[in-house]
């Protein structure tokens, strides 16, 4: 058997290594090579407690995007969340965004009810109907001090 030339082996090594780097970066690091396959929408919440940049946005339980940024609108005293949504998924202007928790102690995510009537939201527009996360401590406090009326 002819021994492979060391340059060939080095070449194979570099190629395999680069494939691994590529896999890590593209698959795990979620780097978009082809760029514009998404658009952004914003939503205003009174509280985004527990939400972080990169948390998933789900519609009907299917992931359709991510939280891109979290900012404070000081004039109106609300938190502005920018959502990056996959292209091709249309939301209507009566869509509702709510912050939910996966499981009891799981990560926060944004659940979207797409709505049905009216105009389709264009990139950069905002979702008006929102629901802030349920504060379990607050609920327990209300229950303990008997403020829950039913």
């Amino acid at each position: 058997m002819k021994k492979y030339h060391y340059e060939t082996v080095a070449g194979i090594f570099v190629l395999v290594g680069l494939l691994c780097v590529g896999y890590l970066v593209v698959q795990l690091g979620d780097v978009r090579i082809f760029g514009k396959d998404s658009y952004t929408l914003s939503a205003r919440f009174t509280s985004v407690s527990g939400l972080r940049v990169g948390n998933p946005v789900e519609m009907l339980g299917i992931e359709i995007g991510q939280v891109e940024s979290l900012e404070i609108d000081q004039k109106n005293q609300v938190a502005v969340v920018t959502l990056r949504i996959k292209k091709g998924i249309n939301l209507y202007d009566d869509a509702m965004a709510s912050i939910k928790t996966a499981g009891l102690i799981g990560d926060r995510y944004i659940g979207i009810d797409p709505g049905g009537g009216g105009e389709i939201l264009k990139p950069g527009e905002s979702i008006t109907e929102t629901e802030s996360p349920v504060d379990i401590e607050e609920l327990v406090k209300k229950y303990a001090f008997g403020e829950v009326k039913k």
Binding site: F13, V14, G17, V25
Partner: protein, 275 residues
């Protein structure tokens, strides 16, 4: 780079202060050493971009990178398998065995991948660098190179540093992926974590920052390991208490020990800087 010149001067007064004197002596020696290493590294890094270096670099990529791939694969596989096993038994107590994928992938990509790869390559290739250059030094081959007007830093050291900078990140990527597969083998195939959940967790938890910080570490370790190993070999003849073959042995040992310690120290520093 004559680092021990000051020691032989006779006009240095004798020590009066039993504690202060050795402290100063040690400090001066340390600073001398650091300076020598920095100049050595700077010159060699500069030499990488000189013409006709590519064939030498390819040869070193073969001996540092390609020939370390097998051991890195083996160590990566077993590290991933052990992580899968250990973390499973911890996570299952909290009823969250599903996040096994996150735990394995994050600890591999951020920490264990770069560090263990660097240590394995130090053991395999770093020791070889120190021994090879060291024996070239004691058999006066480096002096012969100088006689022929070939810069030994350019011919011997800078291809090794360049090849390390190329190889370390690639080997780290190999380690990460094979480690995640190792975690899959124990976690999913042996212990019965859901396969879909495992890979979903791996994908959702690893961010681009984790991957870049892993590669930054790999490059830092590459520079440290190759510089230290070449430096120790290159100055084999400067060993204080030994010469000849014994000095080569000592250089190799100190190169490996120093590299491993510096890898772990640099790991802490880089991690705290990147956080």
């Amino acid at each position: 780079m004559n680092m021990t010149n000051w020691k032989n001067r006779n006009d240095v007064p004798r020590a009066r202060w039993p504690l202060i004197h050795p402290l100063g002596k040690g400090m001066i020696r340390l600073i001398n050493y650091l300076g020598a290493v920095s100049i050595f590294m700077g010159k060699s890094l500069f030499m990488i971009f000189q013409p006709r270096q590519v064939p030498l670099i390819i040869e070193q990529v073969y001996s540092i990178g390609a020939r370390s791939a097998l051991i890195v694969l083996l160590v990566g596989l077993f590290t991933g398998m052990v992580l899968g096993l250990q973390l499973f038994h911890t996570l299952v107590k909290f009823g969250s065995a599903g996040v096994l994928g996150s735990a394995v992938a994050l600890s591999l990509v951020r920490e264990l991948g770069p560090v263990l790869t660097a240590i394995m390559v130090t053991a395999r290739a770093g020791s070889a660098m120190a021994a090879e250059i060291g024996s070239q030094r004691i058999s006066e081959q480096i002096d012969a190179l100088v006689t022929m007007r070939i810069d030994p830093l350019r011919y011997l050291v800078s291809p090794r540093i360049a090849a390390s900078i190329i190889s370390f990140p690639l080997l780290t990527a190999l380690f990460d992926i094979i480690g995640i597969i190792g975690g899959y083998i124990t976690g999913v195939m042996l212990l019965g974590v859901n396969a879909g959940a495992y890979f979903y967790r791996v994908r959702s938890s690893v961010e681009m920052e984790d991957i870049t910080s892993g590669f930054v570490k790999a490059v830092v370790f590459a520079v440290i390991v190759s510089t230290i190993c070449c430096f120790q070999g290159y100055f084999t003849h400067m060993q204080k208490d030994s010469y000849g073959a014994k000095a080569v042995g000592l250089s190799t040992t100190s190169a490996v020990v120093l590299s491993c310690v510096l890898i772990l120290v640099a790991d802490y520093v880089v991690t705290s800087l990147l956080m």
